[in-house]
């Protein structure tokens, strides 16, 4: 029961932190960079067929 209570209070704290953005989120820019790297990697893989 104590463990359930601790878990519940932790979850509430996590959800509060989420709302307040205490853990910095991936921004739109970060996602765009990720997409660019992914596309470059894919192009590289396709290019490998030519070698």
């Amino acid at each position: 029961m104590d463990r359930d209570n601790e878990l519940e209070s932790r979850i509430d704290e996590i959800l509060k932190a989420e709302k307040e953005n205490k853990i910095p989120r991936m921004t739109k820019r970060d996602y765009i960079i990720a997409a660019v790297i992914t596309v470059i990697s894919l192009l590289g893989i396709i290019g490998g067929f030519l070698l």
Binding site: R10, F49, L51
Partner: protein
């Protein structure tokens, strides 16, 4: 004894603390910390095995592309869901409960361990190889079977270390990672200095005559996809300790994609160098260093590699032992570690894990690829980056992820089909390609795409969506339904299917359709229909055949059957009893493009099979549109499935009259009242009279059950909410007055009195009108509220308070849109009627709905108010206050 107790306690704590969500203030890792930890995990000695395996397939340049770009490409995609681990401070094993259910997750955990643990057999094999090779260099020949003894000794020592618990493992890790780095550095130096650089750069493998270079390149990409994807199991616990989403994500990508891949390339360089010098390709760093430099370097590296392999085996047993312990809480940690040890030992006894390295990689990926796809789609596209943490942790009262007795059947089926799909493309055991086109995508990536698309498509089917998304309260889709969106014409391809479904549905009830004054009536025209039950939607398309039509539908139908399909069959979504200008515009568009527009003007099912009063607005609309007006009066639909008991009555017989009541020529000439009068006349109905007149026998024993919802007031003692029903009887629970419903729908008292059900119904209405007139009518009760903002989901608004009096409705509740406790007012004059349900969807009980432009609130009684909540009485009061009845 004391030591045993300590280890168990330590592990219990580790399991407990290891599964708790990590709070922001407890996070330890920035990007660099996480990168170092994850890099440490990725650079085990198996990287060399991977490198030498790749060198047997392709040249060095393609190998580089495969090792780095393929790894990074796959990691960029499948590491994205790690963001959720960081956000909530949890590892993916907790999250997977939402995808597979808690019990399904146990099965998946076992499968993952089964496919993952051969990595540790590879370590043991490497350990045995190192020992053998080095002893051979010193001229010592071992006895037959020594290899197995050596590999098993690695298993035993690793398992013993794992059994000693957390602190021993911590020390092992502290020593292990620098050691592996040291070995790596030594291999790099020796490998690159012992052979000319151009030998490595221009390296091409000696392929068998029938080998296909393209296939080999794809196998390389596949091996790298599989290599990075199967390591996720061991890495799952790190991101939750990161301080930001970006650091967790990129540490995962670069830890494997850069550091891990670098050591794979090092392994390849080592293998190429060995082949150049000795003509034999090996994956053992010890042998390479002894051969390419000096035996003394080999000897010292032996100690490093030996400990590294034993250490990796120990850490692996520990990580997966803890993972198993968190899944199987009642099992002993020691037992679980021993089972893992036995599994690795069996693989060592089999002795072919290195030979089947590529096969085992792909088999692992067969499981991991669909798993990664499920996580990706689940996180971004289905749960929209939200998780119900309390349900994931199975806290009491939070059961969103229990699904079917703890198994999410949809997730498990997708995983199984994804696995099967990979095998349809490629047989990893025998190396046979079954489908070359899909093979070009690589089996792992093809399976990833297939599973992701399958899961996404399944989640779009309303019933499945509701099954998967039982956690909508945690992340509801709040976007309001787009009422302005132009409805498409009824899909021509769907039309025959629709007619077929309608035909099959009505066939047991012998539908007969009569058409009157319909000669020469062609679209566009306006249809007003009677509204008795869902059967109306099956009868109307058949009556209008061969024309296609558009229908007005309440939004909950869109939610129940799915927006796409509802739009394809021509439905216009709206909310009831609101002033929806977009609806008028869309009706006009339907008419302008030459189609039939069907409206059920009562906007609610008949409670007792009789029509409601109609408002002049329907006649005004007809005048605005300037098209013929047709009525469809359907009989028997109510008898077949009355709203107060949704069980189907097989004895019902259906009939429909389609009649043109106003021609195009008449529409301008007739007044609104005249048009209304014609429509009202044709839409007057009494289902019980129809039953009696046509001698329709409905002999189901339960035929009166639920009738107490519309007939709530006792005729004898005059008490409201007094009636109960059972079988064919309706009885007052206070005075015992009782009536039996006969097979022709009449009620009979024991004294011989016969009552026509609509008479009783209307008799009650009079009392409500009187209460309202005298100012005595007031409802003030606690209620349970669910909002329907769109066609996707309901939003649980919790408990609130409903007040209904002469001024209208007040709904006091926690508004999920504003996140404030608010009171919404619905004035009495704004609502001519009210949507009511007696047992919503056959399982949610009685409710009423109130609508704003962006929400429909489904309002249910609580346990406290159940006895005084009657939708019929509330409806009577609403219709009187709204002016529908005088």
């Amino acid at each position: 004894m004391s030591r045993k107790h300590d280890v168990n306690k330590e592990i219990e704590n580790e399991v407990y603390c290891g599964t708790l969500p990590v709070l922001p203030k407890e996070r330890k890792y920035g990007f660099m910390d996480a990168l170092l930890v994850l890099s440490g995990y990725c650079i085990a000695t198996w990287s060399y095995t991977q490198g030498s395996y790749l060198a047997t397939l392709v040249g060095f340049k393609q190998l580089l592309i495969g090792a780095f770009l393929a790894a990074i490409f796959m990691l960029m995609i499948y590491q994205l869901p790690v963001i959720l681990s960081v956000r909530y401070g949890i590892d993916i094993w907790i999250w997977l409960r939402s995808v597979f259910g808690p019990k399904g997750n146990k099965i998946v955990t076992i499968i993952i361990i089964l496919v993952n643990f051969p990595w540790y057999a590879v370590c043991c094999e490497l350990f045995a190889d190192s020992m053998e090779n080095l002893l051979e260099l010193f001229g010592i020949h071992l006895f037959n079977g020594a290899h197995l003894v050596l590999s098993l000794s690695c298993v035993v020592i690793g398992t013993v270390i794992a059994l000693r618990g957390v602190s021993t493992i911590t020390w092992t890790t502290r020593i292990l990672v620098p050691l592996l780095l040291l070995v790596g550095v030594a291999v790099v130096v020796v490998g690159f200095t012992s052979v000319p650089m151009d030998v490595i750069w221009n390296y091409q493998p000696q392929l068998a005559g029938d080998a296909d270079k393209t296939v080999n390149y794809v196998l390389t990409i596949e091996a790298n996809f599989a290599f990075v994807i199967t390591l996720v199991g061991g890495m799952a616990e790190v991101p939750r300790l990161c301080k930001s989403e970006k650091s967790g994500y990129y540490a995962g990508v670069l830890g494997q994609g850069a550091a891990g891949s670098f050591f794979v390339v090092v392994g390849a360089v080592m293998a190429i160098a060995m082949q150049y010098v000795t003509g034999k390709m090996v994956d053992d760093p010890t042998l390479m260093m002894a051969t390419l430099s000096a035996p003394i370097l080999g000897l010292s590296s032996l100690l490093l590699v030996a400990f590294a392999n034993i250490g990796t085996q120990a850490v692996g047993s520990y990580i997966y032992g803890v993972m198993l312990k968190s899944t199987f809480k009642k099992s002993s940690y020691k037992l679980l570690v021993l089972v893992l040890g036995i599994y690795v030992a069996l693989l060592c006894v089999w002795g072919k894990i290195t030979e089947y390295f590529g096969s085992f990689l792909t088999i692992g990926a067969c499981v991991y690829a669909p798993l990664a796809a499920l996580l990706f789609v689940d996180f971004f596209l289905i749960r929209k980056q939200k998780l119900d943490l309390k349900s994931a942790y199975e806290l009491p009262g939070h059961n969103a992820y229990q699904y079917s007795k703890g198994f999410n059947i949809v997730g498990i089926i997708c995983l199984a089909l994804g696995f099967g799909f990979t095998l349809l493309i490629y047989d990893p055991i025998q190396g046979i390609i079954h489908n070359k086109i899909l093979f070009m995508l690589t089996p792992t990536f093809a399976s990833f795409i297939f599973t992701g698309v399958l899961y996404l498509l399944l989640s779009r089917i309303p019933g499945i969506r509701r099954y998967i998304r039982r956690d909508t309260h945690a992340s509801p889709d709040k976007r309001p339904f787009d009422r302005a969106k132009t409805p498409p014409r009824q899909n021509l391809f769907m039309l025959p299917i629709l007619w077929l479904i309608c035909k099959i549905t009505v066939s047991p009830y012998k539908l007969k359709i009569d058409k009157h004054n319909m000669e020469g009536i062609k679209p566009p025209f306006l249809v007003y229909g009677s509204h008795n039950s869902f059967m109306d939607f099956y009868v109307t398309p058949l009556a209008l055949k061969p024309y296609r039509a558009n229908y007005i539908s309440e939004l909950e139908g869109f939610e129940a059957f799915g927006e796409w399909i509802y739009r394809q069959i021509g439905c216009l979504g709206t909310r009831k009893f609101i002033n929806d200008q977009y609806l008028i515009k869309n009706i006009r568009k339907v008419i302008e493009r030459g189609d039939v527009m069907v409206i059920y003007p009562e906007a609610r099912y008949a409670n007792v099979g009789t029509n409601s009063h109609l408002t002049p607005s329907i006649a005004k609309l007809a005048k605005i549109l300037k098209v013929p007006v047709v009525t469809i009066n359907m009989q028997g639909n109510y008898l077949q499935q009355p709203i107060w008991n949704l069980k189907e009555r097989k004895g019902a017989r259906l009939h429909a009259d389609l009649k043109c009541v106003v021609t195009k020529d008449e529409i301008d000439k007739l007044s609104v009242d005249e048009i209304l009068s014609r429509i009202s006349k044709e839409l007057t109905y009494d289902e019980y009279k129809y039953q009696l007149d046509n001698n329709i026998v409905i002999d189901d024993e339960w035929r009166a059950e639920g009738l107490h919802y519309p007939l709530y007031r006792c005729r004898k003692c005059g008490r409201d909410f007094a009636m109960t029903t059972s079988g064919s009887k309706i009885t007052c629970k206070y005075c015992g007055d009782s009536y039996n419903m006969d097979e022709l729908g009449r009620l009979h008292s024991p004294s011989g009195e016969t009552i026509h059900i609509p008479d009783w119904y209307e008799w009650q209405r009079g009392f409500v009108h009187e209460e309202v007139r005298e100012g005595k009518y007031k409802l003030d009760i606690p209620v349970r509220i669910w909002a329907l903002p769109n066609s996707v989901n309901f939003v649980d608004c919790g408990e609130g308070r409903l007040i209904h009096d002469n001024s209208g409705f007040s709904l006091e509740f926690d508004n999920y849109r504003t996140e404030k406790h608010e009171t919404l007012k619905f004035s009495a004059k704004s609502m001519v009627s009210l949507h009511t349900e007696y047992d919503y969807r056959g399982k949610y009980g009685p409710c009423i709905t109130l609508s704003t432009y962006d929400d429909t609130f489904f309002i249910y009684p609580t346990d406290e108010s159940r006895d005084v909540f009657n939708p019929t009485k509330i409806q009577f009061a609403t219709e009187f206050l709204g002016g529908l009845y005088k």
